[in-house]
């Protein structure tokens, strides 16, 4: 817990925001600040807002720092680092009393009278940077000033600078080190140590600072995914970047395709040939992939697709968040076939569920969709290093050369009790087959006969029986006996978990039911909760209450209240408390 010193400073509980024009390095500076905190054993959650453009526009990087686990950012901040006037105009009202602003007083005129209860720390960022003949150094200077204000260990920042810039040479490291120190000294020399917030190193093992997309990418690497074709689309693109940068470390082949249609076609082709393969996109790209989802379905070729949602329809809000693709994905493609949809709620779940997606895809020879969104994909959180011993590889039924040698009449689509027919791979003698997008017989030859059509449809759907046994029920957080239940799926996990802290502070007993397996929908837990006494609230980042409708369709039951948000912004923990309290 945060503790208070004699000087009444709040220690290790900070809500921090940096803002400025796009293209000015806000993202890297924010990340460095977060890593400085985690290197000192602290926890962070990082939330980024940016418009869909490269230069200009307004970017912010918000970091919540805590001694204990922090799940989400607050809608209030304590320290604002403003690289332009717009940042102050837009965000100064988010400052708590006693908060501070670091800004360049030579570029921005502020009248202290306009900011009562706020401490203003003017640092000549641009002049100090230009003195060093490099305008970009102003972010480094600002970071140094930050640490001084928070009375945090400058050495942590200097070691980060060294790690980041060492490949650019000693001169660059020195230039940045000097700049950080100059910013630090400027605050120490020109201001009293009167800022009310302080960060202190703790002895905890430093955690990773990782985004949902990076966790997904690591999940693919861990699962032995060897081929990743993809077309860039926000907010899924960083998966492609991360995997490409590391492809040779993992003997993975990463290909930028001409469109999303070819991305999924190639991934299916590679899986057919025996290679674990996946692709990633957002809703627009997924729309193009839809026909291939059906190809995976009828040919029974495993494939993993990541859909990182953003607000639609069409181009929508490219750099903002929404959870409005769920119903689309459940029914995407003509015809009916088995599929699985997984929706991780944080980086940890993103890693393990992505790795598991490959097992499910190969065991059942079906498409598996990992459903993320901008909030999960592009927010960074501190988390313990993933435990690789928990990752299992289960490739399902693939026949060896010896298996095939003893079976002279191999049938790719052999009718079996489980609905799963063992696969052969191109190149294997005695495994010749016809993997066919037309309805087919057991060999794979096209057929239009009624009897075989029914057999094959039933075979493909009979897999769902085993899948239903394997899917994981939603997890309950908070007080298991609470009479108030919040229900959510995917990325709303983080703001809802943070809101549980606020409910507790207000003496309201709340529990949270979080779905990560969405299709087929696990029914047991939700049926139980919706038939118990108490109030239930479902929270979704969409207009229609898509999971609420799905629950009603499957169980005939529905939560008492829908709390929905579809302005591209995530729920704020404070907002959750406020909106839920209206009904209790």
């Amino acid at each position: 817990m945060a503790k208070t010193t004699k000087a009444a400073k709040i220690i290790n509980k900070l809500s921090w925001k940096m803002g400025g024009p796009a293209g000015e390095g806000i993202m890297s500076a924010g990340m460095i600040f977060a890593k400085c905190a985690t290197r000192g054993g602290l926890n962070t959650y990082n939330y980024i807002e940016y418009p869909s453009l490269i230069k200009g526009g307004h970017n912010t990087y918000q970091v919540q720092v805590g001694a204990d686990e922090v799940f989400f950012v607050s809608n209030k901040i304590n320290l604002l680092v403003a690289l332009d006037k717009e940042t102050i105009d837009r965000h100064s009202q988010e400052l708590n009393p006693g908060g501070g602003i670091i800004y360049d007083g030579e570029k921005i005129n502020l009248d202290a009278k306009d900011y009562p209860q706020i401490k203003l720390y003017s640092v000549p960022l641009e002049a100090m940077a230009l003195e060093r003949k490099n305008r970009l150094l102003k972010n480094t200077i600002a970071l140094g000033a930050n640490l001084a204000l928070l009375d945090y260990d400058l050495e942590i920042l200097l070691s980060m600078i060294s790690d980041i810039f060492k490949r650019k040479g000693e001169a660059i490291v020195k230039m940045n080190t000097d700049a950080a120190r100059a910013g630090y000294d400027y605050i120490k020399n020109n201001f009293k140590a009167d800022f009310g917030f302080k960060l202190e190193k703790m002895s905890n093992q430093p955690k990773m600072v990782i985004s949902g997309n990076e966790a997904i990418a690591c999940g693919m690497q861990a699962a032995g995914c060897k081929f990743f074709p993809a077309y860039p689309m926000t907010p899924a693109t960083s998966i492609l970047h991360f995997l490409k940068a590391k492809e040779r470390d993992y003997n993975m082949v990463v290909v930028q395709t001409e469109d999303e249609i070819s991305a999924l076609a190639m991934a299916i082709g590679a899986n057919y040939a025996g290679v674990r393969s996946a692709t990633a996109t957002s809703g627009g790209g997924f729309s193009l992939m839809v026909e291939h989802l059906g190809l995976s379905g009828i040919t029974e070729t495993p494939v993993v697709v990541v859909n990182s949602q953003r607000p639609g329809p069409a181009t929508g809000l490219p750099t903002w968040t929404e959870q409005a693709d769920l119903r689309f994905l459940i029914h995407a493609a003509q015809g009916e076939f088995s599929r699985i949809i997984l929706a991780p709620g944080d980086a940890n779940e993103a890693f393990y569920l992505t790795a598991e997606a490959f097992n499910l895809a190969e065991k059942y020879q079906i498409p598996v969709i990992v459903l993320s969104d901008k909030l999960l994909s592009e927010s960074y959180e501190s988390t313990d290093e993933f435990d690789l011993s928990k990752v299992k590889i289960e490739r399902g039924e693939i026949l060896s050369d010896a298996d095939l040698a003893s079976n002279q009449n191999y049938l790719r689509y052999k009718i079996t009790a489980s609905g799963i027919s063992p696969r052969s791979l191109p190149g294997q003698a005695n495994g010749i087959s016809d993997t066919n997008s037309d309805e087919h017989d057991e060999y794979g030859f096209s057929t239009e006969e009624s009897e075989m059509r029914i057999k094959m449809m039933n075979k493909r759907f009979s897999k769902m029986e085993a899948i239903r046994k394997e899917i994981i029920e939603p997890k309950i957080y908070g007080d298991k006996k609470a009479k108030i239940t919040l229900i959510g799926w995917g990325s709303t996990k983080k703001p809802i978990l943070e809101s549980l802290k606020l409910f507790k502070e207000k003496g309201i007993v709340v529990r949270f039911l979080h779905f990560t397996y969405l299709w087929p929908l696990p029914e047991k837990q939700i049926k139980k909760i919706l038939t118990e006494k108490g109030k239930t609230f479902i929270l979704e980042n969409n207009h229609d209450g898509q999971l609420a409708a799905l629950i009603k369709e499957i169980t005939g039951l529905e939560p008492d209240h829908q709390i929905l948000k579809y302005d591209g912004r995530p729920f704020w923990p404070e907002e959750i408390v406020e909106r839920v309290r209206k009904f209790i």
Binding site: K35, T38, R39, P206, M208, V209, I210, E214, A217, C218, Q221, G224, K226, F227, F242, R248, D249, Y250, N251, V253, V255, T257, E258, D259, I261, S262, A263, A265, M266, A267, I268, G269, A270, N271, Y272, A273, G274, V275, S277, E291, H292, L295, T299, L388, I393, R395, L425, P426, G427, Q428, A429, G431, I432, S433, D434, S437, D438, G444, F445, S446
Partner: protein, 294 residues
């Protein structure tokens, strides 16, 4: 040694009697036998259409994909297993219309697949609509007054996409022995190879018949001076096509252009010694990734 019959299945073709697909089938199966390839060493990726139905009549590893999407499926298969011969069989509708984008980029990549285009200049399986390679003025169900869009010249297109990609040829289904020679060279060629096959559609294309084609085709190799490594000459030849109401002019057949060039998969050291599908799937150390996050 494999024979062409080894590539036959138990099924009987359902193409119309006289369909150009028979000639292409004879030539392709003959070429595979001539190359000594066993059926398990070949993946046939079929597009959708009359030629695409060949999935039922070709024995080997067969992948029957979606309309226009056979090329990217084949590319994925090739990257997963670069020891395998990957052959795409599709029509002028699938590969030049619906899948035109994939065609363009496969040519750019110079990925080592062979595309055999059953080019009958019409849509057959959908019962007779104009295709990108239909001749101007051809009357079809979707062009009752005659096609007004310019004919796509597939060889010119391929040659124009990239300065030196990589194997461009045209054959005629009415001359299977000649077509077989071309296909043998196309499969042997390392890199992207296009074999556009003039294939009469005896049911829906009343214009580009066997007779019409026979009167116009000639072989490039009959001219001892023709050099298939001369790019500009190949481009010039690729534009040669009968025009006017009576289709005056000639149609060159043979290997228009051929150039040795590094193929796409050769740019990946990851797959130079062992194809991806043979590499063991196990949980690796993620140290190289995790170090980024501190």
């Amino acid at each position: 040694m494999p024979t062409p019959k080894d590539f036959n299945t138990i099924n009987k073709q359902t193409w119309c009697p006289g369909c150009g697909n028979f000639g292409t089938e004879t030539a392709l199966k003959g070429a595979l036998a001539e190359l000594g390839l066993n059926p398990e060493k070949v993946v046939f990726v079929f597009d959708i259409g009359c030629c695409g139905n060949g999935n039922n009549w070709y024995r080997g590893y067969v992948f029957h994909s979606l309309h226009g999407r056979s090329i990217p499926a084949a590319e994925g298969i090739k990257m997963a297993n670069n020891a395998e011969h990957v052959i795409v069989i599709g029509g002028d509708g699938g590969l030049y219309a619906e899948g035109g984008n994939h065609f363009v980029h496969a040519v750019r990549r110079n990925i080592d697949i062979t595309c055999i285009v059953s080019d009958n200049q019409i849509y057959g399986l959908t019962t007779g609509q104009a295709s990108p390679t239909s001749d101007l003025g051809l009357k079809t169900k979707t062009s009752p007054e005659g096609v007004v869009e310019a004919r796509l010249q597939p060889l010119s297109l391929t040659l124009a996409i990239s300065e030196d990609t990589s194997f461009v040829a045209r054959g005629f289904a009415g001359d299977a022995p000649h077509l077989q020679k071309i296909i043998v060279e196309a499969i042997k060629h390392k890199g992207f190879s296009l074999v556009d096959v003039l294939q009469p559609c005896v049911t829906f294309n009343y214009l580009n018949t066997y007779d019409w084609l026979r009167k116009r085709v000639y072989k490039l190799e009959d001219d001892k001076n023709y050099n298939p490594e001369n790019k500009m000459l190949a481009l010039e030849k690729s534009f040669e096509w009968p025009i006017g109401p009576n289709g005056e002019g000639k149609i060159p057949l043979g290997i228009f252009y051929k150039k040795d060039k590094k193929s796409f998969e050769d740019h990946f050291p990851q797959i130079q010694s062992v194809p991806l599908y043979k590499q063991e799937v196990k949980v690796p150390s993620l140290a190289a990734s995790f170090k980024e996050f501190y």
